[in-house]
């Protein structure tokens, strides 16, 4: 199987997992965004919110990184520049979920 096919399968699988999580999250976002510190803190430390939000962050970064790398593929001519852009994108998409989940678990302590 060529890399592009693998990428497409991962993109579609992540989309299927991401859609219900995204619907869940936008509903929660509008209901909590303007609340005070205690309410928002308790929302993110409570289960299943903590688990669902962690999963949402992982899957959405994964899906977004794959989607944006497609944009790079279509619009960046220079191969070196494209490789650097992709590496920065993937690194960011790995670091951000790890950082956020670490913070979430720190909030629960």
């Amino acid at each position: 199987m060529i890399t592009a096919t693998k990428k497409w399968i991962f993109l579609k699988l992540s989309a299927v997992i991401m859609l219900p999580l995204m619907i869940w999250f936008v509903f929660q976002l509008v209901s909590i965004y303007n609340m005070g510190f205690e309410d928002i803190n308790s929302f993110f430390v409570k289960q299943p919110n903590k688990f669902l939000f962690s999963l949402f962050v992982i899957i959405t970064y994964f899906y977004s990184a794959l989607s944006i790398s497609e944009v790079f593929e279509d619009y960046i001519v220079n191969e070196k520049l494209k490789n650097v852009a992709n590496k920065i994108l993937y690194l960011f998409a790995i670091i951000m979920p790890i950082f956020t989940i670490f913070i979430l678990y720190k909030l629960s302590l």
């Binding site: 859609l19 509008v30 303007n34 510190f37 939000f53 959405t60 990184a65 944009v71 619009y75």
Partner: protein
Amino acid sequence: MKNDNPLSPHIQIYNWHISSLVSISHRITGIINFASLTLICFWVSYLVLGKDNYELIFIFLNSFIGKFLILAIVWSFSFQILSEIRHLFWDYGIGFELKTANITGSLVIVGSFILTLLIYILGKNFLI
């Protein structure tokens, strides 16, 4: 290895129609969602600094700009949800006919605004 894949033509060459509008918007909202998710992650991370430091964020999110930002994020996510559902149907070979593609494209555009309103009203009044 030299990549001989053709690049996408410049968007100004095409006459605008529904499918191209939805396609380019799908890509733009994808990038906006990446940035929005990063903002959301920083927002959650800010909680670790404690209640006193959160005051500034609280004031911002309760301001007109803060509410507008949230609505914009919800619209961008809504667009992506509907557009991705359209793509998943295409992956099953459904909806490729020109007329159907135009109808579903229009549904994605109009539906994203309706879904945003629906999410905002339901989320504000019926959750938590």
